[in-house]
Amino acid sequence: MIRFEGVTKRYGDADSGSADGGSRAGGGGDQGAVAVDNLTLEAPTGQITVLVGPSGCGKTTTLRMVNRMITPTSGTISVNGRDTASMDVAELRRGMGYVIQHAGLFPHRTVVDNVMTVPRLLGVDKRQARARAMELIERVGLDPAMARRYPAQLSGGQQQRVGVARALAADPPVMLMDEPFSAVDPVVREQLQNEFLRLQSELGKTILFVTHDIDEAVKLGDQVAVLRVGGVLAQLAPPATLLADPVDDFVAGFVGRDRGYRALSFAAAPELSLTDEPTVRLGATAEQVRAVGSPWVLAVGDAGEPVGWVRAAAVDHEVTRDLLHRGGTVASTSGSLRALLDAALSSPSGRGVVAGDDGRLVGTITAAEVVPAIEARRTATTAGEVPEGASTR
């Protein structure tokens, strides 16, 4: 557990205490500009706590005070009950994984040597450190053949994976992550986020995660701390609560539009009666398609997995992949209400495709059938049942 108690950071003090390597906050040079204002916060053990807010809200400063790259002006920060100010700084830092935006890999060391850094600093012998590093390289989803490459030979996403592996190498109980996925393209970012959640579900680290992206915060956080400019904590809540019940205009504005819809991400799909959908196989003939008697016909693959809708009138000979409509999303029976509604809304036939956990088609559902489930949930919530957050991951 990381605990902040009345922590304030004011820049322009006699000793600003910023480690070299660039401090971002308080760049205006105002005498006594407050970056973090009397912050009290707990990041629970084994959970992801996300610090989110606009530029100048002190989120990075907050993170860097934990490993004392920045010294707080007042207040205390403790990690698992120990006041960080009383700890040896190298010991403190080596007990925390640290991941940053551009990975910050050592360009002159190979991938495996990068990952071995902290264990080697802690005195682990070379062979053991190497074995551990290789295991982690695979664990973060990299080809072991990449171990001997230099960082310059990797893509941004791969470098970021190495950065995560390096931070995990000494198996620290605490991870500090400063916008680790911000500098990669959206597709890679989503992959990294998903694998990060998968890793965390296996490892259960205590994570403090900084981002400016509220969607990322809501997706990754077990709890989200929204900070406003000047380093004041505006709201600390699980993501579902944040979306459903922002505490003030600032948080509401920051959380953004569509929050009603986005909040459905945290509502597990209830048991709904699905409609059986007649399907055709890929490769089915035009006659078979027209025999279904519907303008849009759902095509499935060999394993019974839905592959896409095909317009009956467009099939001349047989159903091929390039005839398929690409817009529809597929919801999972164990997914969220949001995924269910989205499947219905994005389907060209208006019938949302629902698959089981094995990927096989279970049935379809229309938006008109999903909405009552949403309404029923609202009734249940106002009746006192707190919506279960983070149930859909």
């Binding site: 660039g22 190298a90 830092r93 551009h102 990975a103 910050g104 890999l105 230099y150």
Partner: protein, 213 residues
């Protein structure tokens, strides 16, 4: 050409002396410039004063330095130590800025990661900043090497034996061939220095040649 062949052993002896007088100061100068450059890269007020002071050293005329040093060091005027010390001063003058620039050129996120992993001041210098500064420092060393080879030849005016002797002797005897031999030998020596520095630098920086596979 035949003159050069006739005097080959003398040329080689003087070239060896020249290499020693220009080369040893490169090593000594680097040893002095590393801590100075490190200090300059760490503290902004030291940076300005250190770099200005060392930079100014380069403006002292070499002949003046060769003549003045014996009275400062208490050495004899013909002692090669004078030349070694003078050339070391010039090397330091050229390299301190290079070392400081090289150490400061490390990517901020790399440096931040190093700090966050608990690398303290000197450990970070040795493990991260210095290896990454090698290409910049090597570039500075190449300039210093050429400069040293050229300046050492002036020492023949005070009677220290090296390739510069052929320049003064050839001039005194109005014998251009000898002057040419001196010039070409200096040039070749500078090339050898350059090559050695490049080879060492390459050996130390395999990562600079690793490009996207």
């Amino acid at each position: 050409m035949s003159w050069a062949l006739d005097h080959l052993s003398e040329i080689l002896t003087r070239a060896g002396q020249h290499a020693w007088l220009a080369g040893l100061p490169l090593v000594l100068g680097l040893v002095v410039a590393l801590p100075l450059g490190w200090l300059a890269s760490r503290t902004s007020w030291l940076r300005a004063s250190l770099l200005t002071t060392t930079g100014l050293l380069y403006t002292i005329p070499s002949l003046a330095l060769f003549i003045l040093l014996p009275s400062i060091l208490g050495t004899k005027i013909l002692d090669p130590v004078n030349v070694i010390v003078a050339m070391t001063i010039y090397t330091v003058a050229l390299l301190t800025r290079t070392v400081a620039d090289g150490l400061s050129s490390v990517d901020p996120s790399t440096r931040q990661a190093a700090i966050a992993m608990g690398y303290g001041g000197f450990a970070r210098f040795r493990a991260v900043d210095l290896p990454l500064a090698v290409p910049v420092i090597a570039a500075g060393l190449r300039v210093a090497a050429v400069s040293n080879v050229s300046i050492v030849s002036v020492a023949s005016l005070i009677g220290i034996s090296q390739l510069g002797y052929f320049l003064t002797d050839g001039y005194a005897r109005s014998f251009p061939t000898e002057v040419w031999v001196g010039i070409i030998a200096c040039l070749l020596l500078a090339l050898v220095f350059d090559l050695v520095i490049q080879v060492i630098s390459r050996a130390l920086t395999p990562w600079t040649r690793a490009v996207a596979a």
